[in-house]
Symmetry: D3
Subunit: 129 residues, 6 copies
Amino acid sequence: MPAAAINYDEASAEVRAVFDDIKTSRNVPDVNNFWKYLARDPALLKRTWESVKEVMAPGALDPLTKEMIYLAVSVTNGCGYCIASHTAAARKAGMTDAMFGEVMAVTGMANETNRLANGYRVPIDKMFE
Amino acid sequence: MPAAAINYDEASAEVRAVFDDIKTSRNVPDVNNFWKYLARDPALLKRTWESVKEVMAPGALDPLTKEMIYLAVSVTNGCGYCIASHTAAARKAGMTDAMFGEVMAVTGMANETNRLANGYRVPIDKMFE
Amino acid sequence: MPAAAINYDEASAEVRAVFDDIKTSRNVPDVNNFWKYLARDPALLKRTWESVKEVMAPGALDPLTKEMIYLAVSVTNGCGYCIASHTAAARKAGMTDAMFGEVMAVTGMANETNRLANGYRVPIDKMFE
Amino acid sequence: MPAAAINYDEASAEVRAVFDDIKTSRNVPDVNNFWKYLARDPALLKRTWESVKEVMAPGALDPLTKEMIYLAVSVTNGCGYCIASHTAAARKAGMTDAMFGEVMAVTGMANETNRLANGYRVPIDKMFE
Amino acid sequence: MPAAAINYDEASAEVRAVFDDIKTSRNVPDVNNFWKYLARDPALLKRTWESVKEVMAPGALDPLTKEMIYLAVSVTNGCGYCIASHTAAARKAGMTDAMFGEVMAVTGMANETNRLANGYRVPIDKMFE
Amino acid sequence: MPAAAINYDEASAEVRAVFDDIKTSRNVPDVNNFWKYLARDPALLKRTWESVKEVMAPGALDPLTKEMIYLAVSVTNGCGYCIASHTAAARKAGMTDAMFGEVMAVTGMANETNRLANGYRVPIDKMFE
């Protein structure tokens, strides 16, 4: 059992404090599995949550745009858990079916043209340097 | 010389038609290297341009959001040419320094948490299925 | 049925010789699925086992360090089978919970900063060349 | 100029504080380019440095082992800057030529067998679940 | 339910036209899940099918060679669905067990030596430029 | 200088034996940089060359097909050195401009549809299992 989940009842005070902050910040009744697994390493849990919270907060980009970028990266990397959880998060933030379709289309196209640029060994244009 | 550029003067009528459409659609005096290299294969050039034109057109998502997603994928894949050209394209579409910083921060974070989810072998929550 | 397992009873003498060497070298009662599937191609099975045996033997690095590096690569690539089998192998070689947490933390961080370096297009410092 | 370096002289007090901490912690006369580029986004600079400092500190694993894992991930991802800088960092932490050779050998082998496991569609053994 | 399948009975005329063309072109009684899921976005479905049809048609390379290249890429990316479907497609196009074994061996080897070239930072030979 | 080239004159007898075999097998006056860099680790050099020689020999697939698969994987991984050297090797083995174009088109398409399958979370069809 290299990495089982830690539930709220069995969590240390340190872990509970992070879980509580996630639940409050996201207004959810329980944290999702990702956090329960990271809880095996309280320092990692705390650092990861604080970074995610800071990075995903509204700023120059709104939370929906950020979630769609997160999803596009997860799809590119083929991370099953992340695709499922960030599709849900993006939908919660307002992603419609049409938006989802366009995120997929752009992600697919970028993955294709990235390889065409590699294979044709295209040198960077002066104006892009 | 596995893949040299084809310039407008030396291009066939078929290739020129695509180059002209790119120049008009984007309002640029010349096409960038990517298209000059793909021109080696006129069918690939035409199909790729038509797909990119359709995918990147305003729809449920605006062009700036699409360019930032394109950039996030290119950064994840480490495609040097694509990072340079799509950073330029995103800036032209309105990406500010602050937006660029947030695209990078989200892309970096997603690449990190994708691996944490892999390594901790986190099972997908029922609610995400 | 593109690639089913070959068990010891049904294996050729050539395949059994490799299976026997794996069982003896690792002191295990049976080989794991990876080898049973590769056994479809006896030359691949033999070459892969001999390379793995040579590469993973104690040398300038001890077997535990090697297994943790193997795990970090497998997590980066998102190979489910490899993450499961090399987590087990690393634990057998002495990886504690704390060590596992640190392998994950370093792997996650490297995947993040790799993309920040890509996206910010950081030129290599003279002293690193 | 999408992402130029920020040098110490032109840096804000906030950025200088991070630069000073890097220089002190690592006992180096100047920070390397990675940090000068991230300095465009002071919040990202601070968060990334604090995370790297925490993650790479001696713990259950020594700094050399951590640097070699960092290098293996960077090689897998093909990040040129990261390969150069973490090869240097690992050497500074004590990586010999023989150790470097073994890190490369394990990284190469893991990348090969990850794909063999994918392609042969090997199911996870009960004992690894 | 972020992306459920659309079956023929419930499909629009636009989607049915694509499904019919796939069934005729491939001489199959029904389309496979990939197309049923893409059908959520009729424009993406149509564009993707037309591109795949054009790219995979016999040309300078025969369909079997193309399917084996498709499989090698899918194995490298670790896309479970694509590995399953393109192994089947390659077998239908004539891939024998021996050919499958050699595709895997080459794919594995390329993934290994790609990383050795990265890690040893091998400069491109003049004659390859 | 973490990984400089070793030339024939300065090579040990062990390394020269491998270099000689490469030169004879490929009928070339000198080995390319990849081998000169691996020569830092004679055991790795020997094992890698013997594996490459065995894997790339004519078998159920001809050398040209194998080189095109090698190229497709290298393009997918974005390995600059490998793209350059295997484009040259494929050309030497008979790859025409038209074949090169089709390898690129299939590689690009596979990279796109791999992500569409990931993002739409397409379940594997019964007939492909």
